[in-house]
């Protein structure tokens, strides 16, 4: 027995046409499949695609921002290293260190620091860590031993080299957070002393203060010991906070930088971050931004669109239901009319 053409249509077009004919008589199904469902799918897909694109673009921007800030910090630190090298290369300076001539060293530091006003302090120590001279404030530290300080140990560790210290509180004076750049002073192949210059963290912050992460984002700097060097939301000063457990700090950062999405903050919300190392200092710059701020513009467009679609769907459903009721009523009327004369 040959199969019926009605039950097994031959072509797709015939099947579609058959479905459409049947669907016209059932408007609820017709609107659901041809209007409501496609609209919902389009809206959902638009949202998903835009969220993914917005997130990817924001991560890229954050990565670039972190890289830019890292370059600014690295360049400024490099200028400082060059300044130190120039000072350490002066024969007068080397001679004063060799002769342990404190007043002469102080005068040389004074003359040099006038050229670089961003430096808050300069210290010259002997290779054993004894302070020989300090400028601008003596503060009674000349003769003290700084061999255990991070700047000294870092410069000495693995052979004398230039080193950027971690952040710490200034032990004398204003008790502000400071960082040091240390540079060994050599006479031939022999290290005869260590020159260290100091920055306040406010100065470090000012280097990249013009970089904005909008909307709702910010930049912060973490040192090689996972301590906050600068953070825009410090309420009260004190010893630097260790933030090893913060996701952008916990993960290893490659030389080219990285991006990440993590959940955190007080409200445990999604954050996007770009992380970039500052040269070989061990420092890293983090540019962070809450995801909801990134997607705010998208949501401000999609929410009204969603509401409009919902309104349209509601109107269509109402019209369809009215149409169905009307059809039923007509059918009943026709049935009554058919039965009437027979009765």
């Amino acid at each position: 027995m040959a199969p019926s053409r009605e039950r097994f249509p031959v072509t797709f077009l015939e099947a579609l046409r058959g479905w459409q004919l049947r669907a016209y008589s059932k408007p609820l199904r017709f609107f659901s499949f041809l209007v409501i469902l496609p609209l919902a799918i389009v809206l959902f897909m638009t949202h998903r695609v835009n969220v993914a694109l917005g997130r990817r673009q924001a991560l890229h921007n954050l990565g670039v921002t972190a890289e830019l800030a890292a370059q600014i910090v690295e360049r400024t630190l490099q200028e400082t290293r060059l300044f130190e090298q120039m000072l350490a290369a002066q024969p007068v300076f080397r001679q004063a260190i060799q002769q342990r001539d404190g007043p002469q060293l102080t005068k040389l530091l004074q003359d040099s620091l006038q050229l670089v006003p961003r430096l808050s302090l300069a210290v010259v120590s002997a290779p054993d860590g004894t302070i020989l001279a300090v400028f601008p404030e003596d503060l009674g530290v000349v003769g003290q031993d700084i061999a255990q300080d991070d700047a000294f140990r870092g410069a000495q560790q693995g052979g004398w080299h230039q080193y950027v210290s971690g952040v710490h509180l200034q032990e004398v004076g204003s008790h502000e957070k400071v960082v040091e750049v240390a540079c060994p002073v050599q006479a031939g192949s022999e290290v005869i002393g260590l020159l260290m210059v100091q920055f306040r963290v406010g100065e470090v912050r000012s280097w990249f203060q013009k970089i904005r992460v909008e909307p709702g984002g910010f930049l912060y700097v973490v040192d090689q010991h996972d301590q906050l060097v600068t953070y825009p939301f410090q309420v009260l000063p004190g010893k630097p906070t260790v933030v090893s457990d913060w996701p952008p700090v916990a993960q290893a950062v490659p030389e080219t930088g990285s991006t990440l999405v993590f959940r955190g903050g007080r409200r445990h919300e999604l954050w996007l971050a770009g992380v970039h190392p500052v040269g070989t200092t061990g420092w890293r710059i983090v540019a962070a931004q809450p995801e909801h701020e990134v997607l705010r513009l998208l949501h401000s467009v999609l929410w009204p669109m969603g509401l409009l679609v919902s309104l349209l769907v509601t109107i269509l459903l109402t019209v369809s239901l009215q149409w169905v009721q009307l059809q039923r009523w007509r059918l009943l009327e026709e049935a009554k009319g058919t039965r009437g004369p027979a009765a």
Partner: protein, 204 residues
């Protein structure tokens, strides 16, 4: 002077007579009253609420909640109103012929202090931080560091709460936000709790 007509200037004084006599037109008084009302409006702007945050160190025996801060600009006379954007008044007076009188700016705050410890409290040390609109601490003249310390002598029984108030005179009215932190507590038995010497940061 009856010979002078309406609107004609007085040659002796240079003044112009309205010709209507004193209090002749009620709308003039209405206009004057309205102008006085409008010009007095800045007086009411001399006081406004600032954004305020109570921050607490972890494991602090006392927590602050519901912090409120009001900035009050006080002028030398009741009629003085400040020039917008400055801390100076519009009024010159005989005692200060060379310049304008500066306004005195006073911050007054209050917060609910909750004693979470098992002992009664005798005094509290508050650190008040003044922040600008960009969340940068404002260093006030004559103040060491970017915050001031206030000592509040107020007894708070164990496991109870009390509203504490503080006041601070400042030199600028450009303070946007104030953060208040408890950094020390003196208990009734004489023992003292001090906040750890670690920077306090705002986790967003």
């Amino acid at each position: 002077m009856a010979a002078f007509r309406r609107g004609q200037g007085d040659p002796g004084t240079g003044r112009v007579s309205d010709g209507g006599g004193r209090m002749g037109r009620p709308w003039v008084f209405a206009a004057v009253a309205l102008a006085s009302f409008l010009s007095a409006a800045p007086l009411w702007a001399g006081q406004h609420a600032l954004k305020s945050k109570a921050r607490n160190y972890p494991n602090t025996p006392v927590t602050l909640e519901q912090s409120k801060v009001t900035l009050v600009e006080t002028f030398a006379t009741p009629l003085q109103a400040g020039i917008p954007g400055t801390s100076q008044s519009r009024i010159r007076d005989a005692n200060h012929p060379g310049g304008l009188l500066p306004a005195a700016v006073m911050l007054s705050g209050e917060a609910l202090c909750v004693n979470r410890s098992a002992q009664a409290i005798e005094a509290i040390k508050l650190s008040v931080v003044f922040l600008d609109a960009f969340h940068q601490a404002i260093e006030l003249p004559g103040q060491r560091g970017a915050y001031v310390v206030k000592q509040i002598v107020e007894s708070v029984p164990r496991k109870s709460s009390k509203v504490i108030a503080w006041e601070q005179r400042v030199e600028t009215s450009e303070i946007y936000e104030v953060a208040v932190v408890v950094t020390g507590v003196r208990f009734s038995d004489g023992s003292v709790w001090l906040a750890p010497d670690i920077e306090l940061i705002d986790i967003l």
